[in-house]
């Protein structure tokens, strides 16, 4: 495992050496951003709406004390969505959808010698293939987290209205009440860190695939597994490091 981590760090270093022209990367960045964004937006939208709806209903049925005002349900939903559900759960889904796609694409290119073809042409294949994916993920994933948070809160609103667990007015009041802006910053910090982990780990697994189609499948699976573990570990570390700022901000 230590050897793999070392190889991964060296791999990250190769992304920034012997780069092609800015115009080449610009075109690739736009292509990858559109692909990554459009590939996952529908799934993230569906998951986010239901995530918000379920969280609202379950929170409402758990916060049944007459001493707790109804709007607290929405406040709890908002905090959970911003702090954890939007960045982490969506990150895990993103790792499954986009991460496996990246690993599969690069793994297939590796076993069909397309990566070797780039190297023989004098192109740094890791920089050419991977850096645009990393930058595109860094750009799109935070936007998707914001999108997810918005849809989750909207899903909660519709669930509250439909089931009647709390009134829409209480819900709307609750999601605006005592908003700590650092939560949004925290969510974005998580989004950036997770984007880097998902894109680089998935690219690493795909880029160094050896063998045939079976190994490409294994690389895709490993990319998702390792990305999810990295996301959860980073989630814990970020919470440990930054949670105090939630209070002091």
């Amino acid at each position: 495992m230590v050897k793999s981590i070392g190889k991964y760090i060296i791999f990250l270093g190769t992304l920034f050496t012997n780069r092609e022209s800015f115009r080449t990367y610009a075109r690739l960045f736009i292509d990858e951003s559109v692909k990554i964004g459009t590939d996952s937006i529908v799934l993230i939208a569906i998951v986010s709406v239901f995530m918000g709806a379920v969280t609202t209903i379950q929170s409402a049925y758990n916060l049944v004390s007459p001493l707790i005002p109804d709007y607290v349900v929405a406040l709890v939903v908002r905090d959970m969505v911003l702090l954890e559900l939007a960045p982490t759960i969506i990150g895990i889904i993103f790792a499954g959808k986009v991460g496996s796609n990246i690993a599969g694409e690069l793994g297939t290119m590796r076993i069909t010698e397309q990566i070797d073809a780039l190297e023989v042409m004098g192109i740094n294949s890791s920089s050419y293939l991977v850096l645009p994916k990393v930058l595109a993920t860094l750009f799109t994933f935070p936007l998707l987290v914001i999108f997810s948070a918005f849809l989750s809160l909207l899903g909660g609103y519709f669930a509250a209205d439909f089931t009647g667990v709390i009134t829409p007015q209480d819900y709307t009041f609750g999601i605006q009440n005592q908003l700590n802006e650092f939560m949004v910053i925290f969510a974005m910090i998580k989004a950036v860190v997770f984007a880097i982990l998902i894109s680089t780990i998935s690219s690493f697994m795909g880029y160094y695939t050896t063998g045939g189609a079976l190994e490409v499948g294994k690389a895709s699976t490993s990319a998702v597994t390792n990305s999810v573990i990295a996301i959860l570990a980073a989630d814990y570390l970020l919470a440990q490091l930054l949670a105090e700022y939630l209070v002091s901000f």
Binding site: T17, M109, T112, Q114, A117, E119, M121, G122
Partner: protein, 236 residues
């Protein structure tokens, strides 16, 4: 140890062939020559320029003169035929677009694929893929052309087409062409200089005309394994 004490000179304007049975180190040798593998000892020189120990930038400069046809053609799946062939020009040159398109159309017509610009690699036959691969390898006026088993997976008729194409382009562009093969038909059809590998060693080398008179046992066992070659020898 995969390769041991291999030394050879490949000359421009001729088809230099590296032959041998499967697993003798032919592909490893080719990968060392083009820099995909780093040899433990020895040097690879391109017109007296040290490639093996060159700096990264110097290696890149030499690599930009290399064209390679991979065993499976290694076409980029997301690009159509024209985009695949144009790719080296996009990355390695600052040519204007109309000049790139002219060059692409010229090489595609040269390999007999005039009307295939918009086809995707998945829509191509094996022979067509190899021809696109050759076009891509030569579109940037490569000085050195490497072909890894260009006839692999092709029928005999298409194999002859590919072989003749390699020979014609070598003569036309005066490239230094190196072909990895275990197909004696190809060797006799287009080979000029032949190098035979056996268990990682260079056991025989010489001109095609010298094959029938060679007396190295391992080489003869390989060459005369098929009926055609045995018939040729008996006619001598």
């Amino acid at each position: 140890m995969v390769l041991n004490g291999i030394s050879a000179v490949f000359n421009p304007g001729q088809v230099n062939m590296i032959i041998g049975a499967s697993g003798t180190g032919k592909s490893v040798l080719l990968k060392c020559i083009v820099g995909l593998e780093q040899p433990d000892n020895g040097d690879v020189l391109y017109d007296q320029r040290d490639f093996t120990h060159a700096s990264r930038l110097d290696r890149i400069e030499i690599r930009r003169e290399i064209g390679m046809l991979f065993q499976g053609a290694a076409l980029f799946d997301s690009k159509n035929v024209a985009e695949n062939v144009q790719f080296p020009l996009d990355i390695l040159t600052t040519m204007p677009l109309d000049e790139k398109l002219d060059r692409v159309n010229h090489v595609l017509s040269r390999v007999g694929l005039e009307n295939s610009n918009k086809l995707m690699p998945s829509e191509l036959s094996g022979g067509m893929k190899k021809r696109v691969g050759i076009a891509r390898a030569l579109v940037n006026n490569s000085k050195y052309l490497f072909c890894d088993e260009p006839n692999s997976g092709l029928d005999p008729q298409t194999s002859i087409v590919i072989d003749n194409l390699i020979k014609e382009l070598t003569n036309e562009y005066n490239t230094t062409t190196v072909v990895i093969s275990h197909d004696m038909n190809s060797v006799m059809e287009i080979g000029d200089y032949i190098m035979f590998l056996y268990e990682g060693n260079k056991v025989w080398d010489g001109a095609k005309e010298e094959i029938l008179g060679a007396d190295e046992k391992a080489f003869n066992d390989f060459v005369f394994a098929n009926n055609m070659m045995r018939s040729l020898k008996e006619q001598m």
